[in-house]
Amino acid sequence: MKTSVFLGSVAAATLMAGVGMADTLADVKARGELNCGVNTGLVGFAAPDANGNWTGFDVDICKAVAAAVLGDPTKVKYVPTTGQTRFTALSSGEVDLLARNSTWTFSRDTDLKLDFVGVNYYDGQGFMVSKDLGVTSAKELEGATVCIQTGTTTELNLADYFKANNMTYSPVNIDSNAEGEQQYMAGACDAYTTDASGLAATRAAFADPENHIILPEIISKEPLGPAVRHGDSNWGDIVRWTLYALIAAEEYGITSANIEELTTSSQNPEVQRLLGTTDDLGAMIGLDKEWAKRAIMASGNYGEIFAANIGEQTPIGLARGLNAQWTQGGLMYAMPFR
């Protein structure tokens, strides 16, 4: 008798635990804090500064979502994840949102039960070599030793690229970008390969960035974007449209400087809808009227975030390229706010 009661209550508790997982928005609101999975340290994308505050391109996505949902961009707990731990951290519920330059692929979107909500950086895999190696093309890397982060799509692209070009190489498997940097600097590998943006960020942190070149070949498509757990569409919508709000804001010229002014003065109906002065779009995703306005105010629009963290004025010095607005010949295209 006792045993069956015990077992019954255990089963009930288990079931309730299972059901409770599904509403991420309620969980985040109840917690008062957004758990955001970020890189363990990639300057420009996500890295703690000298005072221990996380900054970067991916970090600003976390801030925007926290601002939209909780009304305060500082209410974020940053959870550093490696290439190996990131998806487990997300699917186990340790983080609510993964903004960690992760590539959107078919199997991750389907089999790993993640939902990529959009692309915040269109990237491709490249190679970095030391200048005194005298190599000018990735095709000259026959027989080279290549440092590669395990558990990444780049590991698979590398194998495919060398196979397709009938070349051999020996991989050196490393766990994090910091370890890769150390191995590369020690000369334990001839070339370091990862997303071209990551290479630029890594090189910017070197004492002698001028002595290292990024080879012209881009060997893969790496659309990087924030991901959420599969099965909670409402939370996915919130993150997706927060990202679109940032992109749309750049398109319509809304910046952190003029946002207050535009809120009262703008006659553009799309801007009015976005900033919540006319329609109440926020209610449709369980948020208030000014969610998008707060998200944009957190660190500015997409262009401002790009320029501040990884743009040409920063040591990382990435050009907009594919990541320019669609009106400027790029791929950044926010769906209509209507």
Binding site: T3, F6, L7, V10, A11, T14, L15, A17, G18, M21, A22, G83, Q84, F87, T88, S91, S107, R108, D111, L112, K113, L133, L141, E142, G143, A144, T145, T150, G151, E155, L156, L158, A159, D160, F162, K163, Y169, S170, P171, V172, N173, I174, D175, Q183, A186, G187, A188, C189, D190, R229, H230, G231
Partner: protein, 418 residues
């Protein structure tokens, strides 16, 4: 006959389950058993529920899909087109390689250090104490990392061997190159290659290797027979015939003949392009892991050996000396055979520890079972539970096999009680 009146047992009542000593122990055992089973059921059910909530199933089908990644050290042929299963097998073989090398070297280091720690020489004994205490009391991972760091930071890059006046040079008659990536050592080449035996699944063994194994085994048996014959002669006549040259001959001459027949020679590594080719490049990850595992486990084995020797009473060696045995023979014939009884059981657990500790390999980029099945495969397929369960099973089987083998050996050397 005395009348042993046994009181008729009272009829069973439920309260006796607690108050009657005969039933009480049974009651508690049943309760504990039910609780344990309930806990197990809860854990399993919880896992199933949560997997279902995530929409994931439990399926090992991923093992047969294309792996797509490369592995630096492949004892059997492997390419990125092979399956995850084969990648796991490569990882398992890498685990076995480092474990076997580690067990052999750690035993050697441990025995030497253990005996040396008992030395009458003050300096040697103290040095060994320092070694044992330093390695036993610092976490293994740190030793692995520091050995690896020494290799990558101090050794020259392959590039340094280039040019007319290179800043680094090869050692051992230009046969071995120590670099910050690997140690390039020569491989064996044959001018008269007999081909290889195909074991299926693209695993082959050279006929030459098999020939050497057969010849060495036969030589060892012949040596045993010579020793038995010498013993018989000694028992009969009282004087032992000189056999060392015959033993030496049966052990070496056939092998030398084989070497001449196959035209065995060394192929030295050469610097071509970015790296050394032609020879065998032993990854620094393997060397660092092997060295650290050896020195770490060796320190524990040293203590076991020391304890084993100290466990033999002083009277044994005194008796042996009184019979006129020299110190070397005393150690070999009297002390060690008895000490082995004490040494072997804890030695088994050290071998098990070494094998399990080899799973720290990923820290130095050595792709063992944890690096392939539990690392890249797990990550690329997202099958955490399946990979981990499979890996646990493999390590369990590995440990039990080592344990069983060592137990057989222990049964042979332990004191025969009649």
């Amino acid at each position: 006959m005395t009348d042993l009146s046994v009181p008729a047992s009272p009829p069973f009542r439920p309260s006796m389950l607690i108050y009657d000593r005969r039933y009480r122990s049974l009651t508690f055992q049943v309760i504990v058993f039910i609780l344990v089973m309930a806990l197990a059921w809860w854990l399993i059910n919880n896992t199933i529920q949560n997997l279902a909530a995530l929409g994931k199933d439990f399926d090992f089908g991923f093992l047969w899909s294309r792996a797509g990644y490369d592995i630096p050290q492949t004892p059997i042929p492997y390419s990125s087109d092979d399956t995850h299963l084969r990648a796991a097998l490569v990882g398992l073989l890498n685990t076995l390689i480092v474990s076997i090398l580690g067990c052999i070297a750690a035993t050697f280091v441990g025995v030497v250090a253990g005996v040396a720690r008992l030395s009458n020489n003050w300096l040697i004994a103290r040095l060994m104490t320092v070694y044992v205490e330093a390695f036993r009391n610092v976490p293994l991972l740190l030793w692995i990392l520091i050995v690896f760091a020494i290799f990558t930071e101090i050794m020259p890059a392959p590039n340094a061997f280039r040019g007319d006046n290179p800043s680094a040079s090869m050692i051992l008659f230009d046969n071995v190159a120590l670099t910050n990536r690997y140690t390039a050592i020569p491989t064996l080449g044959m001018t008269n290659d007999p081909g290889s035996l195909d074991l299926g699944a693209r695993i082959t063994i050279s006929w030459a290797t098999l020939a050497f194994v057969v010849v060495l085994a036969a030589g060892w048996i012949a040596r045993r027979m010579i020793a038995t014959w010498a013993q018989q002669v000694q028992d009969r006549t009282g004087s032992r015939p000189t056999t060392w040259w015959a033993s030496l001959a049966v052990m070496t001459v056939p092998s030398l003949l084989l070497i001449w027949y196959f035209g065995l020679h060394l192929i030295a590594p050469e610097l071509r392009g970015f790296n050394f080719t032609g020879g065998l490049n032993v990854q620094n990850g393997l060397v660092a892991l092997w060295l650290a595992l050896t020195l770490y486990t060796g320190a524990f084995i040293a203590e076991i050996v020391r304890a084993g020797i100290l466990a033999i009473s002083r009277g044994q060696s005194e008796a042996a000396f009184a019979l006129g045995l020299r110190p070397g023979r005393t150690m070999n014939l009297v002390i060690l055979p008895q000490a082995l009884r004490v040494i072997i059981p804890p030695l088994i657990s050290q071998y098990l520890n070494l094998t399990k500790n080899s799973s720290l390999a990923i820290a130095v980029g050595y792709m063992d079972l944890k690096g392939t099945l539990g690392g890249t495969t797990l990550n690329q397929t997202g099958r955490e539970l399946e990979s981990i369960v499979l890996m646990m099973g493999v390590y369990l089987v590995l440990s039990l096999t080592i344990s069983a083998g060592m137990n057989v050996f222990n049964a042979r050397v332990k004191l025969k009680e009649r």
